[in-house]
């Protein structure tokens, strides 16, 4: 597997002098083509700062970000921007309440000037049905949609420009449990069908176990452990990772049965 994204010695320091905060410390890691790499850590561990640097929203203090072997400048071109898309945590805020669902999904197509007007409308419809929504919803306001539907729209927006790398910043943590499961399943299916690569940022280890191939554990801005999901859960090497794993509430056998029954029932729907 070749690396689609490489981070080399990435640092981010906010502020100066005594009040400086070292939010991301010397992070180096590769994201392989087609994998789902989870970035795990508690709040304030530098996950979102890392994502913002990768997305080119804030500049790195030092180090480099390479996309397909080419270093990305902080001033990204539209081509660079098109390559990496984002799905945010809160679908209530990530869609503009004053713009239609279709306009939000179409934004990238407009900005990158992909196809003509009719092509773009067609693409919006196609990508909405890809995420399991009625294409007719494109004319609606986000206010008319449920939380789960809105997050699907946000996913559709990230997919609309055929980007291969998607940063998912806690994409399910604002949703209730059942909707969470459906959105995760959708993300997993899309990844297989479209050959997407995910950088999945989360603090929820139970989600990680379900969807990630590899896991990078962050603590106070540093990468403390980086391993295959199975290896990490079965034999964590670091104390911090062990603490994180043991903090996940363990489900009783009864609850597990209940959940799998629910899931199979959903499957039949």
């Amino acid at each position: 597997m070749s690396a689609i994204l490489s981070l080399k010695g990435l640092n981010k320091v906010f502020g100066r002098g005594r009040s400086a905060v070292h939010a991301v410390k010397d992070v180096s890691l590769d994201v392989a083509q087609g994998e789902c790499l989870a970035i795990v850590g508690e709040s304030g561990s530098g996950k979102t700062t890392l994502a913002n640097m990768i997305l080119g929203v804030i500049p790195a203090s030092s180090g480099s970000i390479e996309l397909n072997g080419v270093a990305l400048p902080h001033k990204r071109t539209l081509e660079h921007r098109r390559a990496i898309q984002l799905v945010q945590q809160n679908p209530l805020s990530s869609l503009n309440p004053k713009r239609s669902v279709g306009a939000s999904v179409r934004l990238g197509l407009d900005v990158y000037e992909i196809g003509d007007r009719a092509d773009r409308e067609g693409k919006v419809e196609a990508v909405l049905s890809d995420v399991g929504l009625d294409p007719e919803l494109r004319k609606r306001s986000p206010a008319a949609l449920s939380g789960g539907q809105r997050q699907r729209v946000a996913i559709a927006r990230a997919l609309a420009c055929d980007s291969r790398l998607i940063v998912l910043d806690e994409p399910t943590s604002a949703l209730d449990v059942l909707v969470q499961a459906r959105v995760l399943r959708l993300l997993d299916t899309l990844r297989r069908e479209k050959g997407l690569t995910y950088l999945f940022i989360t603090h929820d280890l139970s989600v990680v176990r379900n969807i990630a191939d590899r896991v990078a554990v962050f603590n106070a801005g540093s990468l403390v452990e980086f391993a295959d999901t199975e290896t990490l859960f079965n034999s964590p090497q670091q104390d911090y990772t062990r603490q994180l794993i043991s903090a996940v509430p363990v489900l009783s056998a009864e609850e597990l049965n209940f959940r799998s029954a629910l899931q199979s029932r959903e499957h039949k729907e």
Partner: protein
């Protein structure tokens, strides 16, 4: 539309506001057809009927040179509305653009734009307008300029506050990540979310602009005779109180009706547009 109707009809004051504003606008627009003596808006003298109390011929009486007060009030409404519309048409875009960019860009732009706004806000509006009118010729155009100069900072401040909170919303980040231009983010993403606040304030301000313009005219700094203006009519008539009460009372009431109407409508709009967010 339905919800709008419900709010309008549930609150009788909103309905009254709508009624008053419609009345004022209809009078101003169709002044030529409604005014019993259209020619009285200019320099006309009629000594047969000068300074008469209200009668069937002149329902609001006549002024000191015999002009029909009702006709002059109707034409004064026209001037007031034109003044309000022109002032807002210039002040609102300036204030909105300053506020949007200061709120979205932050940093140095925010500092420069908002301190400039503060400079204007720190001068009492009427004093600024009086100073400007003292330097410039007291004409209708200059009255508009003076009022505009003191009006835009309020829009800059209002929009700046809304834009600064909208900047933190996820949809702005989403547009930035996609690479949309600043122009798109400011005007297509943030501005629509500021519109309810702007429209509400514009409606309320129509009333205030009419008051300020009338105050300037009252001081002799606004619209000049023989053009009819509510403020100068009140000022002129005040000297003949209480004997020729109609000279002050009717123009005063006219100001009251217009300002009251726009304020009521503004409150209703705040509810209608605000609740949609």
């Amino acid at each position: 539309m339905n919800r709008t109707m419900v709010i309008l009809f549930r609150n009788p004051l909103s309905l009254l506001g709508l009624l008053l504003v419609t009345l004022v606008v209809v009078l101003a627009v169709f002044a030529d057809f409604i005014a019993p003596f259209p020619e009285h808006r200019g320099a006309v003298v009629d000594f047969v009927y000068f300074n008469k109390a209200p009668t069937a011929r002149n329902i609001m009486g006549t002024d000191l040179v015999g002009r029909d007060l009702f006709s002059r009030i109707i034409y004064a409404y026209r001037i007031s509305l034109i003044l309000g519309v022109v002032v807002l048409a210039i002040a609102v875009p300036i204030g909105v653009i300053v506020g949007l960019f200061a709120g979205y860009l932050g940093g140095k732009s925010e500092f420069v734009l908002m301190r400039l706004t503060d400079v204007f806000l720190s001068i009492p509006p009427l004093v600024l307008a009086i100073a400007m009118m003292g330097v410039l010729e007291p004409t209708l155009l200059n009255a508009m300029l003076a009022v505009t100069a003191m009006w835009w900072p309020w829009y800059a401040r209002l929009v700046y506050n809304v834009a600064r909170s909208e900047r933190e919303e996820g949809y702005v980040l989403a547009a930035e990540v996609i690479g949309a231009s600043k122009y798109h983010i400011v005007f297509r993403e943030i501005l629509p979310n500021c519109l309810p606040a702007i429209i509400t304030k514009m409606t309320l301000d129509m009333g205030f602009v009419i008051i300020i313009a009338s105050s300037l005219s009252f001081l002799g700094l606004g619209v000049q005779p023989p053009t009819p203006d509510l403020g100068s009519m009140v000022a002129e008539g005040a000297r003949y109180l209480p004997d020729s009460w109609w000279l002050t009372v009717f123009p005063g009431l006219a100001i009251l009706i217009a300002v009251f109407g726009f304020n009521l409508i503004g409150d209703a709009l705040r509810e209608i547009l605000g609740a949609e967010q």
